[in-house]
Amino acid sequence: MKSILIDDEVMALEILKKLCSKVKELEVVATFSNAIDAIKYLNSNQVDLIFLDIHMPDFSGFDFVKTLKNPTNVIVTTSEKDFALEAFEHDFIIDFLVKPLSKSRFLKAIQKTKIQKEVPKLKNDFSEENTLLDVLYANVNRRLIKIDIPSINLVEANGDYINVKTSKKNYVIHSTLKKIENKLPSNLFVKVHRSYLINIKKIVDIQDNSVLIEKEIIPVSRINKPELLRRLNLL
């Protein structure tokens, strides 16, 4: 099993490496002192298992888990027992190890990973089906107007209405952001704020907590930022 280790404490990484060396099947392919570098690595490399410290500055372990593209088993390591409940709300997290790590508990976690690997994963094809549709019909002034989905730059919530903005035209439609989000291909659109859904291909640049779509600056909320970063091909 190809594994990576993420912890901002060098001593913790060294202890993990030692424990991993006790398991023949485990191959530590990289170690990271922050989550952002690990995200970049995972953009071009696939691993089977991630050992992840939760408590890291700037970008926490939980933020990191939200960015994972492929189903990858994650074992959380932390000094905080109270994180356990939150940890198991994330699908990829299969075990939770409290520091200082003990060999016996570590081996149990690895055993769990092996069992997990044998369970076939259900694939949700819903979003893939959506990508087959590249047009959307919306009720605008009692007419069903065809909107070419790839031409949509962004969708903005505005009370009981949504503004669907393309480069050439804006459409004001009586609907909700949630409804249109379900109709748009999830590989192309991402919610960056409770009032904004954006087309990833239309991003010009990203700065701090905002994205530039053509000439419009769109806010990015803290809660949606990990998902946005997950979708980008970060260098």
Partner: protein
């Protein structure tokens, strides 16, 4: 007062002296930095950051087998999140005890 020891480390190392030495070197390197960071944030009343520093130090506390002090640190960390400094001097004593132990390694 609870005394620090290397029993956890020795058990984990299982006779691997290189590993033991490596971890001690990392403790000697990282602990003074973590302690300094905590003191700086505490003195400037940046209690949320100081709480995060305590959290980081907790791993060293547990590696040095200081179970009671680990509980105290956990409580202090929680207190700091609410800008409560009641356990500051007790935690300082823990840090000083660790410093003395680490210096003689």
């Amino acid at each position: 007062m609870e005394k620090a020891n290397l029993s956890y480390l020795k058990k984990l190392a299982a006779g691997d002296l290189d590993f033991e030495e490596k971890i001690i070197a990392f403790i000697k390197l990282e602990f003074p930095q973590e302690k300094k960071r905590y003191q700086k944030h505490f003195e400037s009343k940046e209690f949320t950051k100081a709480a995060a520093d305590v959290h980081k130090i907790k791993h060293k506390i547990s590696v040095l087998d200081l179970k009671k002090n680990h509980n105290l640190a956990t409580q202090h960390e929680q207190n700091l999140k609410n800008s409560n400094t009641d356990l500051a001097s007790e935690f300082d004593a823990v840090l000083e005890g660790m410093t003395a132990f680490i210096n003689q390694l």
